[in-house]
Amino acid sequence: MSSVRTIGTVAANVFRESVRDKVLYNLVAFAVLLMAASYLIGQLTAGQDIKIIKDLGLAAIATFGLMIAVFIGIGLVWKEVERRSIYSLLSKPLSRAEFILGKYCGLGLTLTVNVAVMVVAWYGVLAYMGTTVPPDVRAAWAAPATDLGMLRAVGLILVELMLVTAIALFFSTFSSPFLSAGFTLGLWVVGHFNADLKNFEGVVDSRAAAWFAHGLYYVLPNFSAFDIKQQVVYAQAVPATYIATTALYGGVYIALLLTASVAVFSRRDFK
């Protein structure tokens, strides 16, 4: 119980620090982007304003979240080491595992608040745009402007961001911020090409290379699985089992990375 409280204290501090560092300012950028886009898109396209605002909102939530997850995640441990505040922190009744988990939960909280506020702003813009469309046009849409089914995609984006945070935190336990950012973004990009690794035997002749690629398919995080944006925008059925399995997959991968992070950090010598 005291461990949970300690983790909560560290997490709250990370959240407070994020607010102090003006991380939440990105919400203003998001709101301005959406409002400007909702005005401009009507002038630029032949209809389709709502579809584009839905796409833009989901893409912006994923992108802003990714930037926060990577660029704050890589500094979580490094900043404490660089400022030498790690010595005073670890001299307190705080285990290294609690420190890592607290840092992770703090950034997770920041991301969740960010995503929640962005979603509210996004639905607000969609609701407003929905009122500007005649009822006969609205009747022809596959889903209403403020279709709550889109929250399924937001949920998986949040799990994806948590996974990216775990990767960034893992690299930050033993590497410099610059390298950590490179590794994290690299892994995120590679994670989108996972499906190609599975079918590598169709591209190369070597059986060993094909098996190696097949192995990588299972080992590397599969980020493309979290992307159901297109499906929800068209109100297509996404099986609940798919969402549950993908979220669980993300959870297990996060647990794996946090365990590895704690293991690496516990072995680091700060003397």
Binding site: G47, H192, V233
Partner: protein, 295 residues
């Protein structure tokens, strides 16, 4: 005190200077226009891979580019009047987002439009719609659009009626689709059936652009009726005076017409000898070709 105002005043002055210089450069004409006909990635498969989890938003960007290219080329704002990038842009859009129904429907309309209003490529329009049918086999509007291209661009009324008929059998198809197929088969190319087609589209359109396009097409049909009538009036004048009228004013003085002779958009008709046509600047140009049975 002076220091407090120095920075804001300096900022305002610098901003005003930047705006002034911008306006000055604009007045000078700027740089010569460079043909903007470059598509960095032409391979839909490559772009699909590179787009990571941003396929939908990238499809929107390519769709906006296709609309802009079509509009700019149609209005003569580009040096290249060939619409050469239109199909590649639409192909990229629909590869990134295979469910983008409007990209198929409008894209086919853009591609099939005769020059100078479009590239006049009904083959590419049908190819685009066939791609759409692979992704959305139950979408009656795509079947209707294929029939439409056959009706207007290739004047193959049997094929058009067949596609309208297929559309009518789909679950969400409107009830008038079956009647449209029958009328097209019986009276394809007839102005009456064309009017029926566009009236149905105008009434059922769920998009302002499509609705205004249907209105324009109906005005074209009105203009064609009016040109036929005016041609008969000019022929009557020629028969009476043994020469064609010199102007609409002469026809009016002789009592053959009353008031200004304007097309449905308010532009005066052109009279050259015995030939009546739309003025070169009319928004109704080019008028559709007619085939099949006559009214």
């Amino acid at each position: 005190m002076g220091h407090r105002f120095f920075t804001p005043v300096l900022l305002v002055m610098l901003m005003a200077s930047a705006i002034g210089l911008q306006a000055l450069r604009e007045r000078g004409g700027g740089l010569p226009a460079v043909p903007d006909s470059l598509l960095y990635v032409r391979s839909p498969a490559a772009l699909q891979r590179m787009s990571l989890s941003y396929k939908s938003i990238l499809a929107d960007v390519y769709w906006i580019r296709a609309v802009q290219l079509y509009g700019d080329t149609k209005l003569g704002r580009t040096a290249d009047r060939s619409y050469g990038l239109l199909y590649p842009l639409l192909e990229l859009t629909t590869t990134l987002d295979p469910y983008f129904g409007v990209a198929y429907q409008f894209g086919a309309l853009f591609l099939a439009e005769s020059p100078p209003g479009g590239p006049g490529r009904p083959d590419l329009a049908i190819k685009l719609l066939q791609r759409g049918l692979e992704a959305r086999p139950d979408d009656w509007q795509l079947y209707q659009a294929v029939g439409f291209v056959h009706y207007w661009s290739t004047q193959d009324y049997v094929a058009a009626a067949d596609w309208f008929n297929r559309a009518s059998r789909l679950p969400k198809a409107p009830t008038w689709m079956g009647a449209l197929a029958a009328v097209t088969l019986a009276e394809g190319g007839n102005r009456k059936s064309s009017r029926l087609l566009w009236q149905q589209i105008q009434q059922s359109a769920t998009d302002d652009w499509f609705r205004s396009e249907a209105e324009r097409r109906l005005k074209q049909l009105d203009a064609m009726d009016q040109i036929d009538l005016l041609t008969r009036v000019v022929a009557a004048f020629t028969a009476r005076y043994q020469r064609p009228p010199a102007s609409w004013a002469e026809l009016a003085r002789a009592g053959f017409v009353r008031g200004a002779v304007l097309d449905p958009t308010g532009m005066p008709y052109r009279l050259e000898g015995s030939t009546v046509s739309l003025a070169p600047g009319s928004k109704l140009l080019p008028l559709p070709k007619e085939g099949g049975a006559r009214p």
